[in-house]
Subunit: 330 residues, 2 copies
């Protein structure tokens, strides 16, 4: 297969195949539980559902790009995937989701209890893995990322249904729900490789901007994606989430539109046809295009950040990945 | 007030008052969230509900008993209390509890979502606090304790309603739900103080045995406590949990009794009068007394473990605490 025609994440997967095999083996070993077989059952349902393993690949790519040849990038990549899986399990309880990656969610197949507790187990497993690296700096970064993730989730909960939500609040929410783990994933890759402070900062900035762009695009797809993304069109609207295109449309709303948003988002009195109406209002104000432009701006920041890093095929793939993230809505 | 007539935990609280004031101040600072006011609201509801702060006192006592005079026992005590609070928040979601410490639970006052996410936030805060101590050994102990806690909770979930549950499984469950945090609390106190390996092992053994005795007693009180414990009589029976007295009674059941346990615990078809009937069956087999004797054996182990530690008023209080734990059912 010609590497040039592969998508950037597939190029990364090909380049990092040997490392990823080790990560997958470590994940399988560490998700086991001698005493509680429910744990690997629930975890396997999610971990083996064909996620893209984007976050662990970011850690591996960052470490390799900075010349690392020790063993601990594998531990850190597995750590990052465990944290991600734990947050998905808890998110599905919080969102009362029925589908994830095109399959029924764990809370539906088992119960909310299992999702909460297996999530806790995976978090503690991730914590054990990172302790094994012996790097206090890595632990510090991941502890801070964990706090930002949880805080962002709570903020999202309290900001839902609130039409006064600003773009600044939205940015905090998506830093928590997505960008904090992306930026920690790339940053710890650099730290474990002993990269310079400039390079570590650049890796953080890349992950942060990539994560923000990724989440803006994800939120846009909720108003224009297909079933193939594993999400249902309009989920965010039904859950009354204030995502970027809605925030932009609310800011420009006339009285009639404002009444519409009040009824559907603030009061949650939704009826047949409201989703189409919401999309029409957003289109009228160019809210989707404006949000897409914001995503492009973040992609540009991500790519600029990479300039400090050594020239390397992996750097080119990370650049390509940033472009690809937004191409999903082109 | 004469210290000799105080209960052991009140003696500890008096002796450690200055340290505990610092722990409480640190807890208040670290449970804050700049962006999500829901977090301190939910946390304060639980943290300030008048818990006994037993676990953080164990850490402080262990550290002081081993001669520590640095600042980090305070961080570790706050860590332990945050982990405890996080597990309570998640437990109440899992158990669908309505009351905790005699007050409505957070999942009832707010919602399950807040309990899950604020619990996650407190776990990440506890993680930040322990990283600040700079001790990888402490991190290792607490990471392992976290995994044991989560595993025990899942095991309890899958063992519930299963009449084949053995005393060995019960022991694993209560090590997870209670003893793992007690033993980590005392062990990290010794580690941060630079105590000898013998002393660190003794502190672990004390916390482990104390926690097991504590939980056996707690489970006994569920069939004979008063409302003053903040638990309702028979909660475990209604939730079909296989606790020690039930396991002992099931092991000795005749055919008729076995049918009773099948109906009430395995199938969950409970009716008026079943709780009284369950208690009568357990009394007939001496199951309560036998479980109480097990608790006394663990108390003896806890006290023996302490013998390696230096003679000190705090050691006497820890000895007294072990006796006191079982005196709740005398």
């Amino acid at each position: 297969m010609d590497r040039d025609v592969l998508k950037p994440q597939d190029q990364l997967a090909a380049w990092l195949a040997a490392d990823m095999a080790e990560v997958n083996a470590l994940i399988r070993t560490r998700m086991a539980s001698e005493h509680a077989p429910r744990i690997p059952e629930v975890t396997a349902h999610l971990v083996e559902a064909g996620g893209k393993r984007l976050r662990p690949m970011l850690t591996l790519a960052a470490a390799r790009l900075c010349g690392y040849d020790g063993p601990y990038h594998v531990h850190l990549a597995a750590t990052v995937e465990f944290i991600h899986t734990a947050t998905l399990l808890h998110d599905d309880v919080v969102d009362e989701s029925a589908q994830r990656r095109g399959r029924p969610t764990a809370n539906l197949l088992w119960d909310n209890k299992s999702s909460v507790l297996v999530g806790d187990y995976l978090l503690s497993r991730s914590f054990q893995l990172m302790v094994e690296t012996g790097s206090l700096r890595v632990l510090d970064i991941l502890a801070n990322a964990s706090a930002t993730i949880a805080e962002g989730e709570v903020l999202q909960l309290t900001a839902a249904q609130d039409l006064a939500t600003t773009e600044a609040t939205y940015l905090q929410v998506i830093r928590g729900k997505t960008a904090a783990l992306f930026s920690a994933a790339t940053e710890v890759g650099g730290v474990i490789a002993g990269a310079s402070e400039d390079q570590v900062s650049a890796l953080f900035a890349y992950g942060d901007a990539l994560g923000i762009a990724f989440q803006i695009v994800d939120d846009l797809l909720d108003y224009g994606g297909t079933e193939a993304t594993g999400k249902n069109l309009g989920d965010d609207f039904r859950e009354r989430k204030l995502t970027l295109p809605v925030i932009k449309a609310v800011a420009l709303a006339d009285d009639e539109e404002r009444a519409f948003w009040q009824r559907t988002i603030a009061k949650g009195k939704q009826q047949e046809g409201d989703l189409a109406q919401a999309m029409a209002i957003m289109a009228r104000h160019g809210a989707m295009d404006a949000a897409r432009q914001d995503a492009l701006d973040w992609v540009a920041k991500a790519k600029t950040a990479l300039e400090v890093l050594p020239e390397h095929p992996l750097r080119d793939m990370l650049t390509g990945l940033a472009d690809y993230v937004v191409s999903r809505i082109n």
